[in-house]
């Protein structure tokens, strides 16, 4: 399968007001394949939201990209000028629904004005009626009531707001949609409906791929094709959903899967232990494997930066698997 976007050697840091660098994403290379839902999971502060911002080309100070590329059809999107990025790439090739987007809608604008704004941003000559008509068709196609166009944000439920934003973000048929914690503020029922919409968008080939950022592995279990686990700004394991959720190899991925609490029989009898300790200070992350200080399986090799080892198509950045061949990087 071809890749729709590739990230190469990405280092994205936050500059604090006090002048330090927080190494939020620190050397990440990753490809999003056509037709897939790629889940990115990890604890808060692991860099997954930062990765989403760089991937979605929405980098804003104090975040800056120190090095690395985001390759779109062979060209580095990070090197494009602002105007090209805004007109041709953002929203059209890559679109993002950022974390908490449903709570940052302008309360004084009807949804239709939001639609017009988004369409005009890319095609200043489009007529208002045309833009709204397009949105109406799209809502209809996805089984949402077109009357939401006339509503103000506060008139919509949280779940509906989230869905409306998703539809508006995909009006220009982007190749890749990035969603960051799209359901963490929603009740389980609204969560399910919001996720069904994402799956629909993919099934109807309105979008080609999704990057789904979340801290909830049970969600990824049902929507993701592949999962990338991040820890302290780096990838620790990337592989097929079944492999990561049911047979994790990296001790951190194992710990994360082992921390899941879900209402299914058998859960109660198990003792869930979680992962002791806390993530490192990202101003001065530890040398070598960053998980080593918390790792129950650490040994003397762990003070060196791990290479990605390949285990049946997945990559694991852990010295425990050093007898495996080096992974083929995208």
């Amino acid at each position: 399968m071809p890749n729709v976007v590739e990230v190469e050697g990405l280092e994205a840091y936050y500059r604090t007001p006090a002048g330090d660098d927080i190494k939020a994403v620190d050397g990440v290379s990753l490809a999003v394949r056509e037709g897939e839902v790629l889940g990115i999971a990890g604890e808060s502060g692991c860099g997954k939201t930062t990765l989403a911002q760089v991937l979605g080309l929405t980098v804003q100070k104090p975040l800056y990209v120190r090095s690395g590329k985001v390759l779109l059809e062979g060209r580095n999107a990070l090197a494009l000028d602002r105007e090209t990025m805004r007109r041709e790439v953002r929203g059209k090739t890559i679109s993002t629904v950022p974390q908490g987007a449903m709570n940052s809608l302008n309360p004084t604008l009807r949804v239709r004005n939001l639609v017009i704004d988004v369409m005009r941003d890319h095609n200043p000559r489009i007529r208002r009626r045309e833009a709204v008509e397009r949105a109406r068709e799209r809502l209809d196609l996805l089984g949402l009531p077109p009357r939401v166009l006339e509503a103000y944000p506060h008139q919509l439920s949280g779940g509906m707001k989230q869905r409306v934003i998703t539809v508006v973000s995909t009006l220009l048929d982007p190749v890749l949609l990035i969603v960051d914690e799209p359901t963490s503020a929603l009740d389980v029922t609204s969560q399910k409906v919001a996720i069904k919409l994402l799956v629909d968008l993919l099934a109807k080939r309105i979008i080609r791929s999704i990057v789904f950022i979340t801290h909830e592995l049970p969600l990824l279990r049902h929507v993701a094709d592949r999962i990338a686990i991040m820890y302290a700004g780096r990838l620790v394991e990337v592989g097929a959903m079944e492999d990561i959720v049911f047979r994790p190899q990296h001790p951190y991925a194992e710990g994360l899967v082992g921390s899941v609490l879900v209402p299914e029989p058998g859960m109660k009898e198990r003792t869930v232990t979680g992962i002791p300790g806390r993530p490192p200070d990202m101003r001065r992350p530890p040398a070598g494997c960053r998980f080593a200080p918390r790792c129950p399986k650490r040994f003397d090799l762990c003070d060196r930066d791990p290479r990605p080892f390949g285990i049946d198509g997945r990559e694991v950045w852990c010295w425990l698997h050093r007898d495996q061949p080096n992974a083929e990087r995208p």
Binding site: T189, H215, R221, S259, V260, T271, V272
Partner: protein, 265 residues
């Protein structure tokens, strides 16, 4: 006496606002918790579960209904001994570990604060000893922790401090209102295990208030399912998870993604 409920509410009702804008947040809720039990009150946002928690803690007066501690009405208790005696027995941990510690206090000062509940405070040496013991119970490094300020702690550590703070007065009941919803999954289990351990070691009664059914199932003996201000189903956790009766409970369970069960979109 030991057979009766340690904490019970009857016909608990709370209306916010009045007239046309009146909002019935909690509608005739009955529940009873036995000593040493771990239960969970489960509800989604707007179900009224947090309002119940606030009334249980005496932080919000009910519009109607009663809260009883060991069979004694909270109003009677308040008149006879004051709320401080109630709070010596019923303590709480809240959702936001960043917002529930006074940012200007050291951990020691925050924890010593709880001794205000005693009409005659124990001598300082004993107070410090009890603070240290409580910190030790929740698995924190005592010497390191006492002088720390909240901003030096992680979310998980803060929540442990909050649990330790509640334990200092050696209460019989702990109300945990979403104690882990703002904490990473990896530290969540440790916090929950501490609370479960307290039941075994100290016979503490714990009531979780949560929207997280997975967490509630893992920790609790009995579940109360709350929807639109009312309790729609209650029973042993296993029964409810395996065989829910109420339509709402069924829908809720079907909508929660799990690892093994298919999730029909």
């Amino acid at each position: 006496m030991s057979d009766g409920p340690i904490l019970a509410v009857e016909g608990l009702t709370r209306v916010f606002g009045s007239g046309r804008h009146a909002n019935l947040a909690v509608d005739r809720v009955d529940l009873a918790i036995r000593p040493g039990e771990v239960v969970a009150l489960i509800g989604e946002s707007g179900s009224g579960k947090t309002t119940v928690a606030r009334m249980l803690l005496g932080l919000l007066p009910p519009t109607e209904g009663t809260v009883r501690y060991r069979g004694v009405d909270l109003d009677t208790l308040r008149r006879r001994e004051g709320m401080r005696s109630y709070w010596r027995n019923v303590q709480a941990v809240f959702q936001d570990p960043f917002g529930s510690l006074n940012a200007f206090y050291s951990v020691r000062r925050c924890m010593l604060n709880a001794f205000k509940l005693f009409p005659r405070r124990p001598p300082r040496a004993e107070r410090i000893a009890r603070v240290r013991e409580a910190l030790d119970i929740v698995g924190l490094d005592v010497d390191d922790m006492l002088t720390k300020h909240p901003h030096q702690l992680s979310g998980g550590q803060r929540q442990r401090v909050m649990i330790a703070r509640a334990l200092v007065v050696q209460p019989g009941v702990l109300i945990a209102d979403e104690p882990t919803s703002m904490i990473d999954a990896s530290s969540r289990a440790a916090i929950l295990n501490i609370l479960l351990d307290l039941r075994t070691r100290l016979g503490l009664t714990v009531m979780f208030i949560t929207h997280d059914i997975g967490m509630a199932y893992y920790t609790s003996d009995r579940l109360f399912i709350m929807h639109l201000g009312r309790i729609v189903e209650e029973g042993p956790a296993d029964d409810i998870i395996r065989d829910p009766q109420h339509e709402y409970t069924k829908r809720l369970l079907a909508d929660v993604p799990t690892l093994s069960r298919e999730w029909i979109l």
